[in-house]
Symmetry: C2
Subunit: 208 residues, 2 copies
DNA sequence: TCTCCGGGAGAACAGTTGTTAACTGCATGG
DNA sequence: CCATGCAGTTAACAACTGTTCTCCCGGAGA
């Protein structure tokens, strides 16, 4: 798309990314509201003042991290919910997909779970907005399902929100089980599948 | 039960409670991992070193707060889930009960939601333990329901966990809507009721 | 080739933090 | 009534924090 950046801007974006990466690593053992600006720059190996060239504050950095963690996830959502297979297979695939994502980006998942109700307002709002968009996308996808005939918009959004909450909940469970024996991860996958199955059943009889 | 405490121990417990209260107030705008010991003692009007007479660290204080916020909630759980009325009435009553609790103890609810996935391990574990106990209690209550015939223990615990998660989720929503117009709170109550109804339906057809 | 711009470095600032030590006053148990 | 134990105080410690100002240097545009 855009032609190659100049050496100048490329270097800038590189340190910016280094700051984001270092912050994300530090946030595995603390919350954003206790993350110090100097702490981050020290981890990158850069002067404290350099931080201001990229972010106004650590809260600002947090908002950028939300974008990084959730922004690129939208395409995945749509394909997951789309009703192209039988319910049980779709559930299994969704749980697998979540497990894979947690294994691939554990720090991102931890960050979102931690800061969703965390102590930094702008970050909470950024996460709430992203999750809200997720819910709307899921609703749009659900609306295309033939089983959704007769559902009003409120019901669809309720169900979509339930799915999004469930996604985060199981992601968090997978995160806790990351360094546990594989048997534990299987247990989590089984539990998540059962929950989704129950929701699926409730969905099927909603209009009775 | 226990005869009246001496003047000495009574005063100790009073400052201890003052520390807990001050910390809880401070935690409305930050997370536990950034809460300073001096910050708390300053708010109480007591010397920093006095803190050590009551807690080893702020993490320790956090665990005590978990006890305070969740420990006295167990009786409420059992009565809420008990199947003494029709489903819709029970749902309405449960949602009302949650709304009332959030309105009465908003700081406690915020603390639990924030620190459940927060940056302080011992506190996370304390919350996980308490919520686990909740789930077990709900399961025991569900097991007494005639509709639970044929459910194995794993299914019951799955459903119980779903209810507990749902409880926290709606509590968090009520918290966000605390200073919003009452219409917003009604909307949250309506949403929570719909979610519970869907789960209830799925529960009714689980064994098909 | 020269000038300019901006990412980054360096030093210094006033405050803050957790933790230690030695103390004071007073309720308590013998 | 007196000695003891303990909640709370005072003072000091080195280490750390966010922020400002001044400077440097090398890529970019003319």
């Amino acid at each position: 798309m855009s032609h190659t950046l100049g050496v100048r801007q490329a270097q800038k974006q590189r340190t910016r990314q280094a700051l984001l990466d270092a912050a994300l690593a530090l946030l595995e053992e603390q919350s954003l509201s206790s993350l110090g600006l100097r702490e981050v720059t020290r981890a990158v190996g850069v002067a404290p003042t350099a931080f201001y060239r990229h972010f106004h504050s650590t809260a600002d950095l947090g908002v950028a991290l939300v974008e990084e963690a959730l922004g690129s996830l939208h395409p995945m959502i749509r394909t997951t919910v789309s009703p192209e297979q039988h319910s049980d297979e779709r559930i299994a695939r969704a749980v697998e997909l979540i497990a894979g994502h947690v294994a691939a980006h554990p720090a991102h998942v931890r960050f979102i779970a931690r800061e969703r109700h965390g102590g930094v307002q702008p970050v909470r709002e950024a996460i709430r907005d992203q999750l809200g968009r997720f819910a709307e996308e899921v609703r749009d996808e659900l609306a295309g399902d033939p089983g959704a005939a007769g559902w009003d918009d409120g019901d669809l959004l309720m169900l979509a929100g339930l799915y999004v909450d469930q996604m985060l909940s199981t992601a968090s469970l997978f995160l806790e089980a990351l360094n546990a024996p594989e048997r534990e991860r299987r247990r989590v996958a089984e539990l998540a599948a059962r929950r989704l199955r129950l929701i699926s059943i409730g969905r099927g009889h909603w209009l009775d």
